[in-house]
Symmetry: C3
Subunit: 245 residues, 3 copies
Amino acid sequence: MFKAKVKADVLKTILDAVSTLVDEAKIQVTPEGISLKAVDPAHVAMVDLSIGKKAFAEYKATDMDMGVDLDKLKDILKLAGAGEMLDIEYKEDQHRLVFKVGHVTRRMALVDTANMGDPKVPNLNLPNQVTVLAKELKNGIRASEAVSDHIALVAHGKTFELIADGDTDQVHLSLSDGDLIKIQAPDKSRSLFSLDYFPNMSKVVGDASPITLHLGTDYPVKLEFDIADGSGHIIYLLAPRIESE
Amino acid sequence: MFKAKVKADVLKTILDAVSTLVDEAKIQVTPEGISLKAVDPAHVAMVDLSIGKKAFAEYKATDMDMGVDLDKLKDILKLAGAGEMLDIEYKEDQHRLVFKVGHVTRRMALVDTANMGDPKVPNLNLPNQVTVLAKELKNGIRASEAVSDHIALVAHGKTFELIADGDTDQVHLSLSDGDLIKIQAPDKSRSLFSLDYFPNMSKVVGDASPITLHLGTDYPVKLEFDIADGSGHIIYLLAPRIESE
Amino acid sequence: MFKAKVKADVLKTILDAVSTLVDEAKIQVTPEGISLKAVDPAHVAMVDLSIGKKAFAEYKATDMDMGVDLDKLKDILKLAGAGEMLDIEYKEDQHRLVFKVGHVTRRMALVDTANMGDPKVPNLNLPNQVTVLAKELKNGIRASEAVSDHIALVAHGKTFELIADGDTDQVHLSLSDGDLIKIQAPDKSRSLFSLDYFPNMSKVVGDASPITLHLGTDYPVKLEFDIADGSGHIIYLLAPRIESE
C-alpha cells in the first residue's frame, strides 16, 4: 500500500537524480519513506537515494516495490507547476500508480521488477573527505568539458583540486582551506573520472548546497548531498578511469 | 478598400487560430469587421473566426476579400512588439497589403482567392453544452498526449469528462458542477476526437478564458470562445473519430 | 607581456564582433589597448576593432600579437556571468593565455599567427554619412531578411533609405531628417549589399547606440560604432554587390 501527497519539486529531484543513469527504476517503499538503488548499464555509476516521509505532505505506506518507467514520470511531472501538489496512490488490483494533479487523473502502469537487480552498495574505504559548495564543483566540471573527456580529483592536506588536461588546453580548479567547507586529507589521493556522468550528476544539487566527496587513489568517488530540505539524501558512486602511463 | 490600425497581439491571435489548420486563408472584409472561414486539408477541422472593428484602433473598409499567406504574416508580426501598433492598408492597384511598423514599410503580395472555397459552417444539432475555464481543458489535453492519439469527450448530467485510453496508461479529467462554469447535458453524449488538432486549437484561448463545447454522440465538437477582449469570436468544428468496436 | 582584468561583457562584445567573420583572429596588444583586424574567408567583409585600456579594470601590456581560437574564447566566456570579472594573463613560456574566473583557471593554447595576414584597411572615399540609432537599422534588416537576400542602401539629401526588393514583396525603411541623428548626403548614393553579413554585424551594437554609415554608389559601406562605453570602437567594411541590370 502506498498513498502520498507531494510537491512536484521533490519528485522532480528524484527523477533528475536517477534518470541520468537508468530509464527504469525499482522504488522501495517502506512505512518510513522511499529509497532507490540503480546502476547504469555500463556499470560505471551507481545512485543510492532515500527520501523520508517528512519530504511528503502526506504519506502512508507498507513495505513494497514499484517498478517505474522514468520517461512516463517525466511526462506526468510536466502536468504540475513547480510548487503544485500531486496525489499518488498505488492501486494493487490494476498494478498501477494513480497520480492526481488538479482535476486530471493519470493512471500509470508499473514496470515488472523481476529483471531489475538489487544493486549492493560496495563497502569502500575512502580515506579523504572534501565538503564544498556545489557551485564550485559545477564550475570546475563545466570548464573541464571544453578541454577533455575526463578529470582528475586530487585531495592533499588542506587543498582540493580538479584538473582537466586536454591536448593543448587545461582547466584547474584549486580550492584551499578557506574556500572549502571541510577537508580531511592526511594522505594525498588522486583518481581520474569520466566526464560522461559528472555534469548530470552535479545538476541535481542546488548551487548553494554543500556536497561531500569521499576520495582515494585510483578508487571510486562517493558523492553525497541532501535533497528535499534535508529529508532526503543522495549518494553517487562513480568508478575511476585507470590512468594509462 | 481596407485601412486599419491594430495592436500586434490581435493579429497574432488570428494567425495562431488559423495557421494551425491552413497555410493560406481568405479574409472577408466588411465595414463592420473581418471574418474568415477555413477547413484543413484533411477536412477534419474548420475554423470560423470573426473580429469586429472595435478590436482595431482605427478601421475603415468596404466589402472585399483578401487572400493571405500566413507564413508571411508571421514574419511581419515578428517586426512588432506585443503591444506595438501596425498600420495596414490595402493598395488595390498593386494588389498588396502594406504594413507599417515604426519606420519600416512592408509590402505583401496577396494570394489569389479563386481556388479557395467558401466553407459552409454545417448546421449541427448538438444537444449538450459545457462551459469550462480553458485551463482545465488544456490540462486534460496535455496529459492525454502522453498516453494516446485520441480522446473521448463525455457529457452527462452535471459532469463533463475527457478520457484518453492508452495501451497501459490512462488519463481522466472529470469536472462536475462546481468545477464547470455551466453544463447542460440532459442526455449522455460521447464522441472520440483525434489529438492532432486539439492541442494547437486550445493554445489560442487564454488560460483564464471560458471556452464552450457543444457535444453530441459520434458527432463533431464545436468549440467557441471570445478573443480580443470580447470584440472577436472563434468557433472550431472538429469531426469525430468513429469508435471501432 | 599582457595581464588584464576585464568584465565578461567586454570580451563578449569583441567575440560577437569578430566571430561573425572568422574562427581565429590575431589580436594586437600594445601598452594602450588591444586591436584586431580580420577579413572573412570570402573577402567580402572586414572588421577593424580597437579597445583602449580604459575598458579594462586592470591592464598592463607590452607590444605583442596573440592568435586566438574564437570558439575556445566562447567556451571560456560561458564560465562567467555577464558582470563577472575575468583575470587574463599571457604566459610566454607556455605560449598560452591563462584565464581565471572565480576559482577556476583555464589555460588556452594560442594559435600560430604566421599564416594570418595583416589586412590593410582600404582608404575609401565615401562621400555620404548617415548616423542613426542602431535599433532603426536593425528593424529594417530584420524585415528585409523575409523578402530578399540583399538590400539597397540609399542616401540623398536629408533621407536615408533601406530597400529590399523580393519577387512579390518589398521592404522599405525610410528615415528623414528628424528620425536620423545626422545625415550628410549632398549627392545621392546607392549601393547593394548581401544580407549574409548585415544581421550578425548589426547584432553587436546595442539598440540605443548610434551607428554611422559611410556610403557611396556601388562602393563598400563602412559601419562605425562605439563599444564598451566609448572606450572601444568597431569599424566594419562590407563590399557591395554589383547591380545586374
